[in-house]
């Protein structure tokens, strides 16, 4: 879904004359949304720009991706050629639902994030429900 949203945002921005490049690790979804430029990294979802704490590899991936602004001359998806240590695809191919409940109140990573947002914006905004009448429970 994230890849679809980014593909659609990318198309809209490019249509205003600003060149865009989308990273992608979900090639089929990106191909369907069909943005102007995409750089494919064959990584598990959640690691689009590389493995954590590997700054040298992250910089290499980003240099290769951004170079596409200067080298691509037509729309497409370019495989940057990076691989993730196997095995991981067997698990990713299983038709299991890994989504967590879709709460309609802000979902803070940490308790102190919530407290800081309440202090800055008040509980009415920092814990507002997306739908009217909902009880804030964030």
């Amino acid at each position: 879904m994230c890849h679809q949203s980014v593909g659609l945002v990318s198309r809209a921005i490019e249509s205003k004359g600003v060149p865009t490049l989308s990273m992608t690790s979900a090639r089929s979804i990106t191909a369907s949304a069909n943005p102007p430029r995409a750089a494919f990294t064959d990584f598990p979802l959640g690691h689009t720009c590389g493995p954590p704490d590997r700054q040298v590899e992250q910089r290499s991936i980003m240099r290769d991706a951004l170079a596409l602004f200067e080298t691509m001359d037509r729309p497409g998806i370019v495989d940057l050629g990076y691989a993730w240590p196997a095995p991981w695809k067997e698990a990713a191919l299983r038709p299991e639902d890994h989504r967590t409940p879709r709460h309609d109140t802000p979902q803070y990573q940490n308790r102190d994030d919530r407290e800081a947002a309440v202090a800055a914006y008040g509980v009415g905004i920092a814990c507002r429900a997306g739908a009217p009448g909902e009880i804030p429970r964030c």
Binding site: H3, L21, G46, P52, Q58, F69, Y108, R114, A116
Partner: protein, 165 residues
């Protein structure tokens, strides 16, 4: 390496199979058969002002977090932010790696180092983030996309990098 290890995972097919097992109707993915617009970078990347848009549910400590139900708001994060202040919230991917190192889905330290080495001209003062797990393409198109497009134009960006999860 097995053949399946070299083929990209078809997440559209995996999602269809998952939803069928759960008894859900198949999701209608956006299918754009018409070619996208094409704009060119009119200057070298080393002189360009680059924008970053990330859809991994990234917010900064002190900001209001994203909801997990078709949240069509966005956050603006200064690109000189300390990455230790970045947080990640999303319902559809495991955020463990991103919480350890936000650069995996919000490459802010990476981009700053590419500016420092001269590969990229400069970063826009603000990066734009949202929680991209939005099922309603109609709400995305009516409520979020126009706002992001306006901000991109106001920030006078030469090019935009987008990062989904």
């Amino acid at each position: 390496m097995a053949e399946s290890d070299r083929r990209p995972i078809d997440y559209i097919a995996v999602t269809r199979e998952t939803y069928t097992r759960l008894g859900y109707r198949p999701y209608r993915w956006a299918l754009n058969e018409d070619p996208p617009s094409w704009a060119t970078l009119g200057k070298p990347l080393s002189e360009a002002r680059l924008g970053l848009i990330a859809s991994g549910g990234i917010y900064r400590h002190g900001q209001v977090a994203f909801t997990h139900r078709d949240d069509v708001t966005h956050r603006e994060i200064p690109t000189d932010v300390d990455s230790a202040e970045l947080r990640v919230t999303h319902f559809a991917f495991d955020p463990a790696a991103a919480r350890r190192d936000p650069n995996v889905v919000f490459p802010i330290d990476t981009l700053r180092s590419l500016v420092a080495e001269g590969t990229v001209g400069e970063l826009a003062p603000l990066a734009l983030t949202f929680m991209g797990g939005i099922y309603s393409q109609r709400r995305l198109a009516s409520d979020l996309i126009p706002v992001l497009v306006d901000r991109v134009l106001e920030l006078e960006l030469d090019a935009v990098l987008l990062v989904p999860v």
